[in-house]
């Protein structure tokens, strides 16, 4: 893939190793970007945070806390070292608590939200894609394709607010409009409050997965082995779910992983819409308060999830498609 790391040996393990190295390299560059954007700008972040009226003493104290003293490469090395060892610095807003403490609970909440959204949207969209492909150009195919197109176009906050108006506040009063979860509780205890945020995320990612699944299914259903299975008199349901679907899922895996990665970004807006206490709303708060250590930690964390999921998608695609697997030998 990249000329720089072509020396790594061939084969599947070599491929995986190369992808992992490339992922780590990407993450390193990501950290440089985040560092450069938040710390090495010509403007003084300490003054930007404290404002024009700040005293020199408070500026100096904040600079020290923000690790703004010393040379820029030195600052970066210090910052990265802390990061790798799990020391993300202290929050500027939350009474100086360590960032890990501020985010720990919220990270769990967000992971929970994303996992549920993934567990609902992946089977649902695979099913929709298969159904659309089975009766290609039929009424279901046309309706679902237009609906998916429209849903894919809508920004998440528009979907979220529309759902709140429909089911929470105005048309029906079935579900809570906000998903506030007290810090001592787990999201499990407030499942009803999770329905609308999960629905928003599902509506945001399902169209993409359903679309690729349909395209992939259409191709597989036209192939010789499906024809063969039908000709030998296999029941259609068997042909569909035992033979066609497993082969059609392989090309879709990458899109599925990409969309799970997308969820990591999508939660920012969705959590804000519903007031859900996760890392997304934490990021919005941190940006509003210019709490740079929290912003840095979350930006790198989300990028890390993103890179990891892409990596898994690549590897999974190789593992499930026999043609690619043998070509690597």
């Amino acid at each position: 893939m990249s000329t720089a790391i072509r020396f790594v040996r061939r084969g599947i393990s070599g491929f995986v190793l190369r992808r992992v190295l490339l992922g780590l390299l990407t993450l390193l560059l990501v950290s440089v970007i985040v560092f450069a954007a938040t710390q090495a700008l010509p403007s003084d972040p300490a003054r930007a945070i404290l404002g024009r009226t700040a005293t020199p003493e408070s500026l100096a104290a904040l600079r020290k806390q923000l690790n703004l003293t010393g040379s820029i490469p030195g600052q970066y090395a210090h910052w990265l070292k802390g990061f790798v060892t799990g020391d993300f610095g202290n929050s500027l807003a939350a009474r100086g608590e360590p960032v890990t403490q501020v985010l720990g609970k919220r990270l769990e909440n967000s992971a929970f939200l994303v996992l549920i959204a993934g567990e609902v949207s992946i089977p649902l969209s695979i099913l929709l894609g298969v159904l659309a492909a089975r009766r290609r150009d039929g009424p279901f195919d046309h309706t679902s394709s237009l609906l998916m197109l429209a849903l894919a176009a809508l920004p998440e906050f528009v979907v979220g607010i529309a759902l709140v108006v429909l089911f929470g506040t105005t048309v029906f009063h079935w579900l809570p409009a906000v998903s506030l979860i007290p810090p001592e509780d787990t999201p499990f205890q407030h499942l009803k409050a999770l329905i609308l945020p999960v629905a928003t995320l599902v509506l945001a990612v399902s169209p993409y997965i359903a679309r690729i699944m349909r395209a992939s299914m259409v191709e597989v259903l036209e192939s010789d082995f499906v024809e063969m299975a039908r000709l030998k008199g296999m029941p259609e349901r068997h042909v569909l779910w035992r033979h066609a679907v497993p082969n059609a899922v392989a090309p879709a895996i990458q899109v599925i992983a990409l969309n799970l990665a997308y969820l990591a970004g999508g939660i920012v807006v969705v959590e804000f819409v519903f007031g859900y206490p996760g890392i997304g709303s934490a990021l919005v708060d941190a940006v509003a308060n210019r709490d740079l250590p929290v912003v840095q930690a979350l930006a790198i964390l989300i990028a890390g999830v993103y890179v990891a999921l892409n990596l898994m998608a690549d590897v999974a695609t190789i593992l499930v498609s026999p043609r690619l697997r043998t070509s690597l030998r």
Binding site: A153, P155, V165, T170, V268, V269, V287, A299, N310
Partner: protein, 297 residues
């Protein structure tokens, strides 16, 4: 012109022609027409709307969250301003900023993609890996990092959204150009000693207009959502300006009492993005049709 370079004329029809074919084909689909109607509606609303606003978008017109009346057809917002007037004024910023950001992203992305495809060297690898790094962030996170450092400035919004649009455009441009740079007319232009810039933008660019049109409409849809979303989070257009994204943020606390302040902008943004994506879908179907040999090469 045909007398000078017949081979070139066959390989690449004159500028505009493939584009007109694409547009004519796309227009045949019902969804494209519906998309154009929706977009024209919202653009007209945003551009002409302010002239019909009964009140100033920032003046106090009634009790906060008061219901619709003859004086305030859509009621009042969280600060007692006329919802209808703010709605009529609030489309310009969303549209303007999204268009600027998309144009910027296209300009950067197309340039990088063309240079990468034409370089045939390590530069190609380096540029595309750099694009991958930008793609390692969800766009909104990159935008939030920038806002956290610089503050909510409109130029920053355009810059960041353009910046996150560029890598995707660059990939499409490079992908489409890789095959074009090997064609005879590019080699002919090289032999004639044309400058690199002229070859990139005068010879190669006109040959990849179809995939770029499709990508541009996709990116525009995406930029509208991102820009409006950032204003919704409170990091875009700042109060007291009227902006659809900001209006949703301001009025969502009062949804139970007076929903119009949030519902009208939600509808407008939804109609706009569905419109642009219908146009994009129409274009991409037409482009696929052309590739399969429907159009003349």
């Amino acid at each position: 012109m045909t007398a000078v370079a017949p081979a070139a004329a066959v390989a690449a029809p004159p500028v505009g022609r493939p584009l007109t074919i694409l547009l004519r084909r796309a227009w045949r689909a019902v969804r494209t027409k519906v998309g154009v109607v929706l977009v024209v509606l919202v653009v007209a609303l945003a551009v002409i709307g302010p002239f019909f606003a009964p009140h100033s978008p920032t003046e106090f017109a009634g009790i906060p969250y008061s219901h619709a009346s003859s004086a305030l057809p859509l009621g009042a917002d969280n600060l007692g301003r006329d919802v209808l007037s703010r709605f009529l004024w609030g489309g310009r910023s969303v549209l303007g900023l999204a268009l600027l950001a998309t144009a910027l992203g296209l300009a950067i992305g197309v340039s990088i993609g063309l240079v990468a495809a034409y370089s045939r060297s390590i530069l190609d690898d380096v540029l595309m890996r750099a694009m991958d790094v930008i793609l390692a962030f969800p766009s909104i996170v990159l935008a939030l990092v920038a806002v956290a450092t610089v503050g909510p400035k409109l130029w920053l919004l355009v810059l960041v959204v353009g910046f996150t649009t560029a890598p995707r455009v660059a990939r499409v441009t490079r992908g489409a150009s890789l095959e074009i740079v090997e064609r005879d007319f590019v080699q002919a232009a090289e032999a004639l000693g044309e400058s690199r810039t002229r070859i990139l933008f005068g010879e190669i660019l006109p040959s990849i207009t179809s995939p770029l049109m499709v990508e541009a409409s996709l990116r525009l849809t995406y930029s509208i959502g991102l820009i409006a979303g950032l204003s919704f989070l409170g990091f875009g257009v700042q109060p007291p300006s009227a902006d659809w994204g900001l209006m949703i943020n301001e009025n969502r606390q009062g949804l139970t009492i007076q929903p119009w302040g949030a519902v009208m902008p939600v509808i407008a943004i939804a109609v706009l993005t569905i419109g642009t994506s219908l146009i994009g879908d129409g274009l991409s179907r037409a482009a696929i049709g052309l590739e399969r040999g429907g159009g003349e090469r």
